[in-house]
Symmetry: D2
Subunit: 427 residues, 4 copies
Amino acid sequence: MAPTQPKGRVLLAYSGGLDTSCILAWLIEQGYEVVCFMADVGQEEDFEAARKKALSVGALKFHLEDMKREFVEQLIYPAVQANCIYEGVYLLGTSLARPVIARGMISIAEKEGCDYVSHGCTGKGNDQVRFELAFYGLKPSIKVIAPWRIPEFYQRFPGRSSLLAYAAEKKIPVVQTASKPWSTDENLFHISYEAGILEDPNTTPPADMWKLTTDPLHAPAEPERLQIEFKTGLPVKVTTAAGQTYTDSVEIFLALNQLARKHGVGRIDIVENRFIGVKSRGCYESPAATILRRAHMDLEGLTLDRNVRALRDQFVTVHLSNILYNGYFFSPEREFVTSCLPASQRTVNGTVRLALYKGNVIVEGRFSDEKLYDEKESSMDELGGFEPTDTSGFIRIESIRLRKWGAANIQKGQAGTEPKDVYGTRV
Amino acid sequence: MAPTQPKGRVLLAYSGGLDTSCILAWLIEQGYEVVCFMADVGQEEDFEAARKKALSVGALKFHLEDMKREFVEQLIYPAVQANCIYEGVYLLGTSLARPVIARGMISIAEKEGCDYVSHGCTGKGNDQVRFELAFYGLKPSIKVIAPWRIPEFYQRFPGRSSLLAYAAEKKIPVVQTASKPWSTDENLFHISYEAGILEDPNTTPPADMWKLTTDPLHAPAEPERLQIEFKTGLPVKVTTAAGQTYTDSVEIFLALNQLARKHGVGRIDIVENRFIGVKSRGCYESPAATILRRAHMDLEGLTLDRNVRALRDQFVTVHLSNILYNGYFFSPEREFVTSCLPASQRTVNGTVRLALYKGNVIVEGRFSDEKLYDEKESSMDELGGFEPTDTSGFIRIESIRLRKWGAANIQKGQAGTEPKDVYGTRV
Amino acid sequence: MAPTQPKGRVLLAYSGGLDTSCILAWLIEQGYEVVCFMADVGQEEDFEAARKKALSVGALKFHLEDMKREFVEQLIYPAVQANCIYEGVYLLGTSLARPVIARGMISIAEKEGCDYVSHGCTGKGNDQVRFELAFYGLKPSIKVIAPWRIPEFYQRFPGRSSLLAYAAEKKIPVVQTASKPWSTDENLFHISYEAGILEDPNTTPPADMWKLTTDPLHAPAEPERLQIEFKTGLPVKVTTAAGQTYTDSVEIFLALNQLARKHGVGRIDIVENRFIGVKSRGCYESPAATILRRAHMDLEGLTLDRNVRALRDQFVTVHLSNILYNGYFFSPEREFVTSCLPASQRTVNGTVRLALYKGNVIVEGRFSDEKLYDEKESSMDELGGFEPTDTSGFIRIESIRLRKWGAANIQKGQAGTEPKDVYGTRV
Amino acid sequence: MAPTQPKGRVLLAYSGGLDTSCILAWLIEQGYEVVCFMADVGQEEDFEAARKKALSVGALKFHLEDMKREFVEQLIYPAVQANCIYEGVYLLGTSLARPVIARGMISIAEKEGCDYVSHGCTGKGNDQVRFELAFYGLKPSIKVIAPWRIPEFYQRFPGRSSLLAYAAEKKIPVVQTASKPWSTDENLFHISYEAGILEDPNTTPPADMWKLTTDPLHAPAEPERLQIEFKTGLPVKVTTAAGQTYTDSVEIFLALNQLARKHGVGRIDIVENRFIGVKSRGCYESPAATILRRAHMDLEGLTLDRNVRALRDQFVTVHLSNILYNGYFFSPEREFVTSCLPASQRTVNGTVRLALYKGNVIVEGRFSDEKLYDEKESSMDELGGFEPTDTSGFIRIESIRLRKWGAANIQKGQAGTEPKDVYGTRV
C-alpha cells in the first residue's frame, strides 16, 4: 500500500486538534504529500505546539500566517460600515474569518504547488460551504478534499473513540482535556458555541460555558465610559475615560474587546438558519463588535441622509450579511454590493460617547462636523428653513392618494372606521 | 365679534394642557362650536380634571374614550408580529397610538356632526402628519384646523408667555408645574422625550428625565425570570417566576410593562429622521415592547421558515415600520402589506424563557411543538435527512457561477487573491 | 436477473418519446413495477398512441390526467395577477406547468401505492429541480428515481444511438421523424426551444422553428381589435371585434392564444440563468400570456394605487417569479408571498381595449368603475382636490433634505454643478 | 408702478411659447430683471426666433445652451446601463432631461448673478418638482418663482384667452398655429403627449398625434438589421446592414433614433402615477431608447452574473428609476445608488444583432468575449464542469426545508395536494 509516487500535494487547514491530526495522518496514508496551514486570526491557541505536532505526524511543512490585520481591516471594518447582521441577531464572526483564511490558504497552496486543499469541517455545517466557495472563487481549478464527506473516511471514523484509536495507532499525541459538551470556533471577533448539549434549544447554556465575557451579574458595579471617533464609517480613534487612546485599526478593536469583555457585553443565544436549510442553535460572544455596531448605527442617525440609510439597510446590510453568512465573499455579487459602501459612508464622520455597564452599551451622546443635523431646523420652538404653512401643503399633497382611496372605500362600504377592518383582526 | 351663527362644529383633540386649552378658547373666539376629545391610550393623566377644564373654558361637550384594548390588540400586537422597528432602533410607540386616536376622533366627529377636527401638534413634527393622513384616509371630506400652522394663530402666540397671558385673559386655569426642559408623549406602550435641552444630540439626558423605567444602575441585583407563550406570533400567556399568569391581551402587556420597568428595560436615545426630512433627537422608554420584540424574534428563529423570515423582514418589517412611522396606517399600502401577516405567523407557536436583569433581556431557552427545528438533523454528530455526500453536490452546483467568474478574473488578471482587491481598500 | 419480488412500484412521468420509453423499459429491467403518468396541460400530443406504447413496453397501468383547468386557474391566472416574469423577459411557461403535473403525479402515486416517482429530465436543467422540489414539498417521504443522474444509466446510454439500440432490443416502437436540432417543451401556455443549434447564442433561430405563432412578417396586414375585462385582476371576459365573447377561464385563454398566434404575438429569444447557475439560451412562444400581461399591467395603471403597485412589484412580482422559476411552488415562501395577492388585486377591475398587429400588442384605451383615476384632478387646466399653493409647500418640505445636503456639498467643494461629478463619468 | 430699484434678477426657463412669454412680461411688470434661458436638449425648435422674441418682450439677455452631449452621456447612457423604467413601461424621457436643464440654469444663474430662477410648469405636474428639487440640491440658497402656483398670477390668467389678451397688451407676437388638443414635451430622447383629449384614458390617440415615429402600419414591409456593440454597458458602436457605423456617443443615439422612427419603434400609451399622487394618462415615443433597452438587457443575459443582475434589478433599476421620475437626481440617494453602476457593468461587453420591423425590436443573436456563458456547460448533451450526480446532492440539500415543511403540513392536515389549498383559490 506504499505508493512510490505521491498522489499529489495537499494543503490542509490544520487546527492542532484530534480531527485534523487524524485527517493529516489519513491523507498521508492515502498517498498524498501534506503541507499544514494555520491562520492566526486572533484565536487563543498554542501555535508552536501545533507546528510540532503537525510535523511529528508527518506534514511536509507547516505554515502559520498572521492574518489579524487583514481580518480587521478588510473584513471586519467593512462589515461595521455596513451594519452587517444575520437574521437580526448574529454578527457573523465565523463568516468574516473564513474568506481571510481561504485567501491565505490559496496563496500558500500556490506557493507550495499544491493541487488540493483539505479541511476538517463537518458535512452539515456552514463552514465547509464558506471555505469551498471561497476556494473556487479564488482558484476555480483547485481540488478540495473534505474527508468528513468522503464515505470511506466518515464510515471508518464514526465517533470520537475510533479517532482516538487511530491517533494511538499513528502515534499522534492527544492532549487529555476534559472534552467540553459543545463545539467552539474562536477568533479575535468572537467565539461561537454549538452542538452537544446546546442542541436542545431549551437548555440554558451553563454559566461556565461563556469564555470571553464576564457574566453581566459579576461585571463591575460602575459604568465605564469611552468615546469612539469614526471617519467614513470606520473607527479611527478610541478614547477611554482613563485617558488612553487607540488609533491603530487592530489596537482599536482589541481595546474595545477588552472593555466589552470586562463589562459582559456581546453575548447572544439564538436559533439560526444555516445555508443548507437546517435550523441550528448557536451561542456567541462578540464583545468589540457589539459596541461598534451600536456606535456606528448611532452616528449614522446623526450624519447619514435618511434615504441613503434606508436604501443601504435594504440593499447593502441585508445582502452583504447573507453573502457573508453563506460564504459568497469571493463572488460577483459581493463585489457589486460592496462597491457602494464608500458612497454610503462619505458623511459618517463624528464621535459617539458610550457607557458600558453590565451587558449594556449605552449611548450617552454624539457629535459631528457634518451638517445634516440642524438644531434650529428640528426645534419645535423655532422657525428654520421652512414655514409651518409649507407643511399644510405637504400634507394636502401627500393625502391626495389617501383621500381618493378613502372615498372609494366609503362608496363601497369598506371604510376603515370599523375596528373589524384593521389588520389585527385578520390574524 | 360675537357671531350669531357658528362657523361650524369642531372636534378638538384635547390634552388638558396649556396649548390645547388656549386652542379651545381661540377656536370659540373664532366662532366655532367645539367638542373636546380625549383618548385613554394608557397615559398617566387626570382625565376628570381635563373634563372640568374643557367645559369651563367653553367646550360644548367632552368625550373620553377608553381605547387601550383597541390599541393593544389592533395596533401593538400586529406590530409585534411584524417585528416593527424604525431605523433599527425606535419601536414606534407614538406612531402606533395615532391611528387609534384618529379613528376614535372620526367616529365621535361623525356622531357629533362635526365638520372639522383640530389638534395642537406643532408644524414641524410627525404627529400632525400622522393625525391628518389618518383623518383623510378615514373620512376624505373632513376639514382640519391645525392652529400651529395658521399664521394668525402662531404669530399671535410666539411663545409660552403669550399663551399664559391669553390663558389669564380667558380665565383658563394653569397648573403651576415646574416646566420640564423637554416635551413628552406618553401611552401604555412608551413615553417619548424630545426638544428643549435634548436638541443638542451630545447632551446626555439627565437621570431624572427617565420616568417609566428604573435606572439600570438601581435595578434589582438579581435577575427575574418569566416565560411568554405565543400563538401565531401573538403573546397569549405570560408566566412569572413567582407563578403568576396573565392571559388577557391587555393584562399581558401591562404585566410585561411592570416587569420591564422594574428591571430598567427599554430605554433608547437616538437621532432619527422625521417624515418631513428633518433629523431629530429623541429618547424613549418602551418597556414591555422591548421584551416582546426580543422574545418574538427569538421564537421565530425556532419556528419560522428561513425564507419566509427573510422575505418578511424585507417586505413587512421594513415597509410596515415606515408606513406606521409616516402615518399611513389608513392607506392601501398598509392594507396590502399587512394582508400577509397571517401567513407569516402561522407557525410562530411556542414559548420563550427570559431573564430580566439591569436593562438586559436575556433569552435562556425556547420550545415549540412546531417541527421545523430537528435536533437530529442539525446535529453535527448524526446523519439525519441527508448524506454528507449530498453536500458535496450542493457545493459543486453552488460554485458553478463562482468558478466561471473566478476563471474570467484570473484571465483578466483581476483575481481576488490580492488583498488590495477586496472591498475594505476601496473606502 | 429476474427478480421474483419487485423492488417497488414507480410512477413514471411518461411522454411517449424515446427517452422515457427507454427509462420505462430500464426500470422494469431493474425490477420495478412501473405505472405511467401523462398530464394533459394543453400540449399537442397523441395521448392514445402514448398509452398503447407504454402498455406495450410493459407499464402496469397508464394514467392520463386532464389538468388544463387547474393549470389555467391555479397557476397561470395568479401569475397574471402578479405580472410574473423572470429576468425581465421570460413568462415562465414551463415553470408554471410543473407544480400542476407534480401534484397530479403525487396524487396518482398515492392512489397506486407507488413508493417512487421517476422522470426523464436531464441532469443539468431546471425541470428536474422543479419536479423534485415539488414532490418533496408535497410528500417528503417519496423517493425519486432520476435515471439521467444515475451513473449506471447515463453511462450506459451516452447518446441517441445507444437509446435507439436499446429500443430495438426492447421492441419499443420508434417513430421515424426527422429529429429537430433542438428540444422543446409545450403546453397551452407556451412552447420552449433550447439545446442543439440554439446553444450558440448568436445563431438566429430558423424561421421554421417557431411552431405556435405566425411569423410577424406574414401576419395579417390589418390590426385586429379585442377587449379584455378583468375582475380582481383576473380575466373574466374577452370580446372580439367580430362580436364573439368568452367568459370561461380556459376558453378565454384559448381564445387569446388563437388571436395572438394569428398575429405573431409572443416570441422571445433570450439567454437566461438557470437555477443551478448555468447560463442557457432559450426561445419561447407565449401567445395569450403576452397579451394578458400587457393588458393587466395597463389596467393596473388605471386602477391600482401607486404605492401598492410599487411594493407589489418589488415583493410579489420579483419573488413569486423566482419561486416559480426555481421550482419552489410548494414551499412556505410561496404560501407567504401569494397570501397578499388578493389585497393587491381588490381594485383591479375594468376593461382594456387592444389591437394586435404583426407581433405588436397595442393598448388603445381602458376604462373602469374604480375611482382612483380622476380626470379633473389630473387635468393641468383645472383645480381639483388641491391648490397649486399646496404643491409649493410640498416641494419646500421635500427639499429640506436636499438643501441640507447641497449646502454641505458646497461647503466641502463637492457641489453637483460640475459635469464631472455626475454618475456617468464614474463608469 | 415703475420700480426705480429692481426687485432682483431672475433666470427664466424660456420656451418661446405663449405661457413663458407672458411670464417674462409679468415678471418684468413685477419689477424683476429677467434673463432668459433655453436648453437645446434636441427638441425641434426655432431657437433664433425664441431669442428674438425674448429680447423683444424685454429680456435682459438670452442664453441658449447646447446640452445634447451632456444629456446623452451623463443622463441617458447611465439610465441605459441601469435599464431604467418607471412602472414597467415609461422610459423617463422627460425626467432625464430635467437635471441637465436645471444644472445649466444654475450655472448661468450664477454667472449672471441671478437670485431667482423661474419656470412655466403647471402646479399639478411632475416637472415643477423635478426642476425645483434639482435647483435646491445644486444651490440651496436659490429662490424659485413658480407663477402657476402664485395666486395673483394664476387667478389673473385663468385660461388661454386671458393669456392671449395679455400678450396683445404687451405686444408679444403670437404665432397663429392650430392649437393641438394636448400638451407635449420633446427632446432627443422622446416626445410626450398628455392633457386635453388624452385625459379620458379610453380615448385612443388620433393617428396624427404621433410625431416622431412612423405608424407601424405604414412602416417598411421589410425588416432592417443592425448591430450594437456595448462596452461596460455603454453603446460604443452601431453598425447598420448598409454598412454605416457610428461610434460617437451622440451620433449613436441619433442614428438609432432615425432607424427606430422609420420602423415605428417606441410608442407607448399608459396611465401613470405622478409623484404628487395623482394618476395621469400619457403617451410617449422613445425610439432609440426602446432599441437600446432591449439590446442592453439582452446582452446582460449573456454577460452579467445572475445574482448581480437580480440585485441590480431590485436595487439600482427600481430605485434609480423612481429617483429620476420624482426629480431627486441631485440627492444623496442618487449618488449612493449610482455608485455601484460601474461594478454592475464591468462584464457587460459584447454585441447584439437586431432586426427592426413594424414596431418590433427583434433580437436575432448576440456574442461576447466574456466567459460567463459556456456552451459546453449549458449543453444538455455534454458533461461540463459538474457531474449529474452533483445535482442530486444539490436537490437533496435544497429540499431539506421543504421536506420539513411538507411533513409538518401533512401532520396538521394541510398538505398541498388538494387543489383548494393553492393560491389561485384564495382570490
